[in-house]
Symmetry: C2
Subunit: 237 residues, 2 copies
C-alpha cells in the first residue's frame, strides 16, 4: 500500500534527516562569523564585537569562540590587538575565498526565490516611515559607493529588503545564502558596467516597492538576479 516503486521510505526521509552539527557549536559559530565577514556586516578594518560579548551572543563559551577566532586568524581573515581599544579586526581580503563545496545552481536558484519573495512581500506591506527611510538610506548608500565598496553596500541593501519583508525566517536564510553568493562573486572581477545597471535596477525596485507594485517589484528583482546568475555561471560554470 505504501511501497511505491518510486521514492522508497528511506529516500523520503533524506530531505529532513541530514547530519546534525555533530557535537559542535564550534562549526556553527565559525560559519556565522564567516557570514558576518562575507556579508560585509563588519567591513575590512572594522572591529568585531569583543570576545566576551560575541561569545554571549552566540551562546558559546569564550574558549570555544577563541578557537574559532584562532582558525580565522590562521587563515589571515582577522587580526587581534590587545589592550584597551584593541579587539579583533577584519583583515583586508588577500586570497579568493574557498568555494569548494558550494552547489552553485542550488545557491543561485535559492537566492532568487528568496529575493523574489522579499521584493514581493515588501511591496505588499505598508512600510512605516522609519522602514521606508531605512530602505532609501540603503539605496543611497549603494549609489554613493566607491566601486570597491559597492558589493558590501549592495549586500546591505538586499539584507535591508529581506528584513523589511516581515518574515524573520526569510531574512535569516537570505543572509546565509547571500554569504555564499558573495563567496562566488569574490572569485570574479568587478565590472563597472554591471554596477551601473545594477544601480538602476535598485532604484526601480525601490520605486515599485514604495508604490506597492508587487508584480513590478518581482519582475525587476527577477532581472536583477538573472544578471548576477548569468555572470556567475559564465565565470564559474
Amino acid at each position: 500500500m505504501d511501497a511505491p516503486t518510486r521514492g522508497s521510505a528511506a529516500d523520503r526521509l533524506s530531505p529532513v534527516l541530514r547530519p546534525v552539527h555533530a557535537g559542535n557549536g564550534f562549526e556553527a559559530a565559525l560559519e556565522q562569523i564567516l557570514q558576518v565577514i562575507r556579508l560585509g556586516l563588519v567591513a575590512e578594518g572594522e572591529r568585531l564585537p569583543a570576545e566576551r560579548e560575541l561569545a554571549e551572543r552566540l551562546r558559546i563559551s569564550r574558549m570555544t569562540l577563541r578557537d574559532v577566532l584562532k582558525v580565522l586568524h590562521e587563515q589571515g581573515l582577522v587580526e587581534s590587538r590587545r589592550g584597551r581599544y584593541g579587539g579583533t579586526f577584519v583583515s583586508p581580503r588577500t586570497a579568493a575565498p574557498d568555494v569548494t563545496g558550494i552547489d552553485i545552481e542550488d545557491t543561485l536558484r535559492f537566492r532568487e526565490v528568496l529575493e523574489l519573495g522579499a521584493a514581493e512581500l515588501c511591496a505588499s506591506r505598508d512600510l512605516t516611515e522609519d522602514q521606508t527611510a531605512r530602505l532609501c538610506d540603503a539605496l543611497t548608500a549603494t549609489r554613493d559607493a566607491a566601486p570597491d565598496d559597492y558589493r558590501r553596500r549592495d549586500t546591505l541593501f538586499h539584507l535591508t529588503l529581506a528584513e523589511l519583508s516581515g518574515s524573520p525566517s526569510l531574512a535569516a536564510h537570505y543572509a546565509a545564502v547571500r554569504a555564499s553568493v558573495n563567496g562566488l562573486l569574490d572569485c570574479m572581477p568587478l565590472l563597472v558596467r554591471n554596477l551601473e545597471h545594477s544601480q538602476r535596477q535598485h532604484a526601480a525596485l525601490v520605486t515599485a516597492v514604495l508604490a506597492g507594485d508587487a508584480a513590478g517589484a518581482r519582475e525587476v528583482m527577477r532581472e536583477h538576479c538573472a544578471g548576477t546568475a548569468a555572470l556567475v555561471r559564465g565565470f564559474l560554470g
Copy 2:
C-alpha cells in the same frame, strides 16, 4: 563615517549572530525527528529507522539519539518494541501539538515564498520522465486519499514539488517550514470543502508545471497558499 542614525553596527549583526545551538546535537536531532513525524514522512503506526541507522544518518551517538527518543516516548509520540522486527513506531496522535513559540505570520509568509519559488522553478525546468511520474504519483495519492490521510499526502505532494525544484536548499527549508505549518493545521478542524478546492488547485498546478507555464504555476500556488493562510489566520489569529 559608518554610524548612521538608523541601524547601528550592533543591529546589523543580529540577523546573523543568533545563538548557536549551545552544545547540543540533541536539540537539533529532536527537531528533525519531530519534523519527520509532523510531515508524515513516517505515518502513524509506521516504523522509524532502527536506532543504529538513525544515529548514523544524524551523525550523533546512539546514546544521544536514545535520549531524544525517550523524550518523544514520554510525550506519547512514539512507542518502542524490542526484538527482531521490533523498532520505534509512531503513535496515533492524541493531543494538539504545541505551537507556542511559532511566529504565525513569519511562518505563513515564508512558506508562501518557498512554495511560489518551488512552483516556478519546477515549471521552468525540463523534468525527466521519472520526475514527472513522481509528481503525478504524488498528485494521484492526494486525489485518492481518505480525509484523515489527506494532510499527510498533501504534505508529500508539496515536498515532492520542492525536491523537483532543483534546489536542495529550497527542499530542506521547505520541509522545516512545512512542519511548522502542519503544527498549526493540526490545531484546526479539517474542512471537506477545502479539500476539494485544494485538490483542484493541485491538479491545475501540475498542469501548469508540466506545460512549463511558470507564471501560471505561481498564480495557482499563490491562491493555494492564500487559502491556507486565511484559514490559519481565521482560527489562530
